[in-house]
């Protein structure tokens, strides 16, 4: 395993602590999972350097799950920066992507496919037993799984049409969610030339489309990037409902368009207090980082440029700072700013792009 100090960083950030996991490398082939100590600027490469991507911290902040290429496909690995370990999961299928941690940090969900099963399934890996299980029953074409931290939202689902809900299996799904936990995922629906995507609620044996329960014409739109808040009480997602890509929030009050702008809005990331979302938008021309107060849909700029892009925002655990990628120096590098956009500071300055930053949660 590769585990070495690459470079001491440019600037130390007084008062700021914590670790940011990110991806860096000259080309995609050599992208490597690395961690940056915010207080000292030290950078350590901890991944395989083989198309590493999609880093995700465990809820307790001790481990990082990520995807990495191996000779036969793509696998999920779990690295522990402090212990200096980096272990692969044992997979049933060749291709495994986009890991997501269960709320208790004992399971990982990801999408998988193989030669014999070209449409992706959701698999759940039990880190205690090493057993990998297909979730969603027979449903295929599922991807981008994320765990619901609680089943609060499930309990609140109470569609007007109870018969339809019964037919869709909602009540059985609620019972299974209480017992095993529950995932949300994006599922492909329809047939060419009119395929679309829906948000699915996924349990071990069931996969039920969520929005058709609440929006009769949901099938007309293509959803992406479903993101539950940290308490599992509201869900952000993208949809092209409204003519362009917008951010919506589904909560107890219904579904609200919180980004509402003719330019595209992408990639919602909840703050730790579940009040704000950081996201990407083209409302000022180039791709920039913004934040929105979910309860009012008031949008504020965080990081934008006239002739460069800013993207991939993630919140510090205390919600005071946002880390993001900026192209303002020519090569994409990590920057951080206060949540109101002030005090922007460059964090990385290596020779290669620094991408996909995720801030370590508070260690428990």
């Amino acid at each position: 395993m590769t585990f070495f100090l690459i470079v001491g960083l440019t600037s130390i950030l007084p008062g700021q602590t914590g670790t940011i996991a990110y991806i860096t490398g000259e080309t995609q082939e050599t992208w490597c999972l690395s961690v940056l100590d915010v207080s000292t600027g030290a950078v350590t490469a901890i991944g395989q350097g083989a198309r590493d991507s999609f880093p995700r911290w465990s809820p307790d902040g001790t481990r990082i799950a990520y995807q990495s290429k191996h000779p036969d496909g793509m696998g999920i690995r779990v690295a522990n920066p402090q212990a200096g370990t980096d272990e692969p999961l044992r997979h049933s299928y060749k291709w495994n992507f986009q890991p997501g941690w269960s709320p208790d940090g004992r399971k990982l969900a990801y999408s998988s496919d193989g030669d014999a099963a070209p449409l992706s399934s959701i698999l759940v890996y039990d880190l205690d037993t090493g057993v990998e299980t297909i979730w969603g029953g027979e449903r295929r074409g599922l991807m981008q799984p994320v765990w619901l931290p609680t089943t609060d939202l499930m309990k609140a689902l109470d569609p007007d049409d109870q018969m339809a809900a019964e037919a869709l299996g909602l009540f059985a799904l609620k019972a299974e969610a209480e017992e095993h936990g529950v995932l949300m995922a994006i599922g492909v629906t329809g047939n060419p030339p009119d395929i679309a995507t829906e948000i699915f609620i996924v349990t071990p044996t069931l996969a039920v489309p969520l929005l058709p329960l609440l929006m009769p014409d949901s099938h007309r739109y293509v959803k992406w990037q479903v993101s539950p808040d940290n308490k599992g009480r509201q869900i952000a997602f993208e949809s092209n409902d409204g003519g362009d890509r917008e951010l919506f929030v589904l909560g107890r009050k219904g579904i609200t368009n919180v980004s509402n702008h003719p330019a595209a809005d992408w990639n919602p990331k909840w703050s730790s207090d579940n009040e704000w979302m950081a996201f990407e938008s083209f409302r000022d021309g180039r791709r920039g980082v913004y934040r929105v107060l979910a309860s009012t849909a008031n949008v504020f700029s965080v990081a934008t440029g006239k002739n460069f892009d800013c993207w991939s925002p993630d919140w510090s655990p205390d919600g005071d700072y946002i880390v993001y990628v900026s192209g303002q120096t020519g090569t994409p590098q990590l920057f951080m700013a206060r949540a109101d956009g002030s005090g922007s500071k460059q964090l990385s300055n290596g020779p290669h792009p620094a991408l996909s930053p995720v801030w370590q949660p508070k260690r428990k």
Partner: protein
Amino acid sequence: MRFAGIFSIALATVCLMCAFATAREADGTLGLIQTPNNGVPALITPGGRFEARLSEKATLTLTKDGNLWPLVTEWTHLPGGFAQARCNTQGNLPPGTYALHAVTGDAQDCNVRAVFVLTAIPDSYLIAHITDTHIGSTRHPREAASIMNDIIAAANKSEAAFALITGDLTENGSPEQFRRFLEVLDTCILPTFVVPGNHDRTSRNYEQFFGPRTYVFQFGVDGYLGYDTKDFLIADELGPQDGLLHYYRRQIRASRWSVGFTHRYDLMMGMRAQLILFVDDPLDYLLYGHYHREADEQDGIPWGRTRIIMTPAAINGQMRFIQVDAQGLHMQETVHAASTLHEQEDN
């Protein structure tokens, strides 16, 4: 005035010398001038404007047949220390193919076939689609570059307005293969727009020879968006491409036809790119290669509106012409323009 005259003569002398002495770097990679170049040229009408990206500010001139046309430039700083020039041309600029020259205090550069001046840009025109040239491949008895020579010759004989060359330019992306590709490319009398394919991804060689992997250009009423194919396994969703795709897609939104050209389409390619190009604001057409065959019923973009034109591989001696008019893009039958046998067996 006298100073200006002397300066012009000196500049002309330097540029003429440069035309023979310096084109790109000695190893064929891009130097002072990044774009336009012979893989990403500028198409204008006399008096038109184009943008040039350089590693630093320079005096810019167009040359053709030993004649010089100075450019009036407005400069903008770009991230990474690059400089962008908005280049204004003279209204009496004769139609034809121009080299772009750049001179600074201590450097000079020349990009041949970088700027094409057209009398007018027609609403109805022909384009040549060439893909998968695989320079360096030994899969056939005949050398790949020799096969590409015949393909380019066929394009030269046509009435095509420009050629789109959609990736797998080389067999393994080595600098030597890119240099050989450039040699053949420069026999083309048409403007040639290239994008990389999966065989061209060795290190950053493609960028060093051609610059941007993602770019957009307007040809009259039609907009063309070239981009690097990202299939799911190597999706560049972390990097800058998705932002550029959306930014450029918006720029050609008002076009009569919005045409994407890339190396490959696969349903498992990066999802964000698919949302941008085929779902939220669908391109009208996507041109690609990669599969070395004609499209069949299984091919297509399942999101709805974007129609595909897939062309067999140039390495197998094939190419295609596409007629563009108010009714759409009309692909013609595949042209078998080159033999893959040994030179002496060609007949």
